[in-house]
């Protein structure tokens, strides 16, 4: 019995999920007979089975729904929004009851009589809207139906004197055989009914069995569609996955062995084994993957209900429903996605009047897009609503004390937009029961980050908002940095990794300072507490004071940073996370273990655990205070971070770090020319390159020909500092990146040439601060990557000059 019940629950849940979708499709095309028939079948299956299992309440609810549907199916009633809403309410009620059955085993004590009444009323054609148009046919129908029902009732009772309780309960609602009766009403309805109901009754005394048995042929028809797939226990899939993992390792061993063999049959067989294993592994991975459409399928319904509540018109478009990702991840993104969609409907898309006033189509558009890119799944939620007003966000953020007014002026529009993910933020003027309570967006962000994902928001005020989510394909495989400590390999999850710092042996002793025995390192002016992994793990020789080069892995634990000293940094790799056995679970510094390519086992560090073990947490209270003072200094405009670099013949130069968007390396062969302008293709855009040393050339006697520079650069790579101007990326070609330093931004000497803001003494050397906008003007690169006329002339001069060299 338990198994039957379980199957019923699983099957019903599937059916219900389909129903939501089907109803919305049906609303678009109300005369789609096949779809109505499909819906009818689903509801009927639920009704039939729950009658069989003795869930009277569920049966009575689904029963009226079924009756209503049968009239729709026969074209007696037309689908109007009121009916759709009632039927959706029916689906909800069914879902609620099934949930109750699942958790408590009983149907719960909620009263559904209102819903039943509504459905029964609609069935009789008594709609508020459509009453006048359908009154004639419905009146006739309404007369017929009770009549036939009565007859049917008589037949049933006559054929079977001991009526069961459930049966008795149904009769007041609408008689049991009515749905079957309606189609055949034209010719001798009574006879047909008796035939349908009677056969099972003499053989099987309980009446409740009759319904499913009578319906059996219909179910087999539906089954042919579902035969293409079977249900499998996830545990079984996991076991299979492990076996495949073992097979892969064995394959690796055999491959290694076969390299030393000369037997050609053995070698070809090994090759075949290799290919088959890879394919098997790939297929196995696929079994855990599910299309994102499984989660999305609920959203049109959510949007429809919300839009109704907010009196908005919204259509939902979905692209890439077939995009697949791991089942556990799919579960994890369900709630964040729902939240984001509710937000878009509630805050994003405007009311029809507003939209018409703005000259937009009355109906808002909500687009869901999913696609694979670079081993990650991208999900986009795009609406063409009002967008986010950056001024309002800024105002709100200041008002809530999330940023100071001074800080706010420095933020880019995008940074401002992304502030809506900060805790305690909500711009909705009024709090509705849908959203606007200021919890949520930060929860969305943390939930997505928890599974190793990222969320970004882009918005054009007045035009719409795009929310982009990037998540990994699977959780079981994570990117990690491999580091050596005491001769063993350890994996550090890259989520916590901030940067790597290497101090050469001669510098190490000087740069690492001690505060009462605790080592610290000045990272761009801030004290970074250092943790010696060898010492913490009690393996190998302590790194500090060993007179060796020191590798610092800068990690983030919670909201604190610390530097982990390791013997060596090896590589980054995708690793498969395996849990620790109970014997070593008590060791707090490890989060799991993994197997490396060569078959060795490596432990995965728990960054938070390491931080706690090393008491970084308590030390960092001081650090937080230290941070505060730094912020204070920054606010008073005294210090800023600078990127130090060198250029041929130009000495040391610096750019404020805040203006640097990325550091990139391009090979010479990637450089293309547009006219005389050097460009590279960068992230789908064309990025103009400015050679800093040749552009800043006025003062020098030796003009440098770019071609010459190219040759001079022996390693065939150029170092590029990417600067993002208002519209486009611009790449500054430099020679070497030296350091990142914290320095006063008080210019000590004013500029002596264009493209330079002035000079400063940094680390004891005079350093010029670049004026990038000025430099761009000299380089005559406009934001659209073209040169203006004046620029042409200027470059002409430069190239002439360089030719003269």
């Amino acid at each position: 019995m338990d198994d039957v019940l379980k199957e019923f629950l699983v099957e019903s849940n599937d059916n219900l999920d389909n129903l939501d979708q089907e109803f919305l499709e049906l609303e678009k095309n109300p005369t789609d007979k096949d779809r109505i028939a499909a819906i009818f079948r689903s509801v009927h299956t639920i009704k039939g089975t729950c009658g069989f299992l003795g869930f009277a309440k569920l049966e009575s609810v689904t029963h009226v729904g079924e009756n209503l549907l049968s009239k729709l199916r026969d074209g007696v009633l037309l689908l109007i929004p009121e009916i759709t809403s009632a039927l959706l309410a029916l689906v909800d009620a069914t879902r609620e009851i099934i949930k109750n059955i699942e958790s408590t085993g009983s149907e719960g004590d909620k009263d559904y009589s209102v819903l039943i009444d509504t459905l029964a009323r609609l069935q009789k054609g008594e709609t508020n809207v459509g009453a006048s148009t359908q009154s004639t046919s419905d009146a006739a129908e309404a007369e017929k139906a009770p009549a036939s029902a009565e007859v049917a009732h008589e037949v049933v009772t006559a054929a079977q004197p001991p009526v069961e309780l459930e049966q008795a309960e149904q009769i007041p609602v609408v008689s049991e055989p009515a749905p079957q009766a309606v189609p055949e009403i034209k010719v001798e309805p009574e006879v047909q009914k008796t035939v349908e109901v009677a056969p099972p009754t003499p053989m099987k005394p309980p009446v409740s069995v009759a319904a499913p048995v009578a319906e059996a042929p219909k179910e087999t028809k539906a089954a042919s569609i579902t035969e293409a797939s079977i249900r499998v226990d996830v545990k079984l899939l996991d076991d299979l996955m492990n076996l495949v993992g073992e097979l892969v390792l064995t394959r690796n061993q055999i491959l290694q062995y076969s390299n030393k063999q000369e037997d050609s049959t053995f070698i070809t067989t090994t090759q075949r084994l290799n290919i088959i294993t890879s394919e098997l592994q790939e297929s196995m991975m696929k079994t855990r993957m599910q299309p994102i459409g499984n989660v999305w399928s609920k959203f049109p319904r959510v949007v429809r209900d919300l839009a109704g509540l907010c009196k908005k018109k919204i259509s939902v478009v979905m692209e890439g429903q077939e995009t697949e990702l791991d089942k556990t991840l799919l579960e994890a993104i369900k709630d964040p996605l729902t939240h984001l969609i509710r937000n878009s409907v509630d805050h994003g898309i405007e009311t029809p009047q507003e939209r018409i006033e703005k000259g937009k189509p009355e109906e808002g558009l909500l687009k869901l897009r999913a696609y694979h890119e670079g081993g990650q799944v991208n999900i986009e939620i795009i609406d063409n609503g009002g967008g986010i007003n950056p001024d309002k966000v800024k105002e709100k953020a200041i008002q809530k004390g999330l940023v100071t007014p001074e800080e706010a002026t420095k933020l880019s529009e995008r940074q401002i937009t992304n502030m809506i993910f900060m805790p305690g933020f909500s711009t909705a003027e009024k709090v509705s029961n849908i959203s606007g309570r200021g919890v949520g967006m930060d929860v969305v962000k943390t939930n997505i980050e928890k599974i190793g994902g990222m969320v970004d928001i882009q918005s054009k005020f007045g035009e719409g908002t795009t929310i982009k989510i990037k998540i990994p394909l699977t959780l079981a495989i994570i990117p990690a940095l491999l580091a050596t400590s005491g001769g063993d390999l350890y994996a550090i999850p890259q989520v916590s990794l901030l940067e790597l710092v290497r101090l050469e042996a001669e510098n190490a002793a000087k740069k690492i300072e001690m505060i009462h025995g605790s080592p610290v390192y000045r990272l761009r002016g801030k004290l970074l507490p250092l943790v010696d992994l060898n010492k913490e793990l009690n393996v190998g020789e302590e790194i500090i004071g060993s007179n060796r080069a020191v590798n610092i892995v800068v990690l983030q634990a919670d909201d604190r940073q610390f530097g982990l000293l390791v013997d060596d940094i090896n590589d980054t790799q995708e690793i498969v996370v395996k849990p620790l056995s109970s014997q070593i679970q008590s060791v707090p510094v490890f989060a799991g273990s993994t197997i490396m390519g060569d078959g060795r086992v490596a432990l995965i560090l728990d960054v938070m655990g390491v931080a706690q073990k090393a008491h970084v947490v308590s030390e960092l209270k001081d650090k937080a205070r230290h941070d505060l003072t730094i912020i204070h200094e920054e606010q008073s405009g005294e210090r800023q971070s600078l990127l130090l670099f060198s250029c041929q013949d130009s000495g040391r130069m610096a750019i404020p770090l805040s203006q640097v968007s990325r550091l990139e390396k391009f090979s010479m062969s990637q450089i293309e020319k547009v006219g005389t302008q050097e460009v590279v293709q960068y992230r789908g855009d064309i990025m103009s390159l400015i050679r800093v040393s040749s552009t800043l050339s006025e003062r020098r006697k030796n003009m440098r020909n770019p071609e010459f520079v190219k040759e001079a650069n022996s390693n065939n790579f150029i170092q590029v500092v990417v600067y993002k101007s208002d519209k486009a990326h611009v790449g500054l070609v430099i020679d070497r990146i030296l350091d990142i330093v914290e320095a006063s931004n008080q210019i000590q000497r004013t500029a002596s040439r264009n493209g330079i803001m002035g000079s400063l003494v940094i680390q004891g050397c005079v350093t010029e601060i670049l004026d990038i906008e000025g430099l761009i003007q000299i380089g005559n690169i406009q934001d659209n990557g073209q040169k203006n006329e004046e620029g042409m002339a200027a470059t002409g001069l430069v190239s002439e000059a360089s030719l003269m060299q």
């Binding site: 056995s581 014997q583 070593i584 060791v587 510094v589 060795r600 086992v601 490596a602």
Partner: protein
Amino acid sequence: MSEQQFCTFYLGEHYFGVPVSEVQEIIRYQDMTRVPLAPDVVSGLINLRGQIVTAIDLRKRLEFEAKKDDKKLMNVVVRTIEGAVSLQVDEIGDVLEVPDDCFERCPETLTGSAREMIWGAYKLENKLLLILDTGKAINL
């Protein structure tokens, strides 16, 4: 008279047995990854065909003296509720079938951690077969 099958092994001069039904497999010495900060008896992690198995030094677990020669230890991999665990032993013996009636619980004079982990002994003709309670042995 019912009989039981035991997988036997040696720790020093002691002769031990665990029920065959609990043994997954026996493997030669394996390279393993040490686990810093873990209890002393955990000698490391073994990659057993893609499955990561914790190895426990049974000598240390039973508070026996450390081994004197440097012969490599063997692994008796036992099944537990939480997955496989390897017990490291000196040498592997035969699979023995012993009658139930020669079993006797440990005498009270046995002390230390060994007392908890040794279930009892089968009195064989020339020696005693000590039965290890694997559940207790792996529960650190």
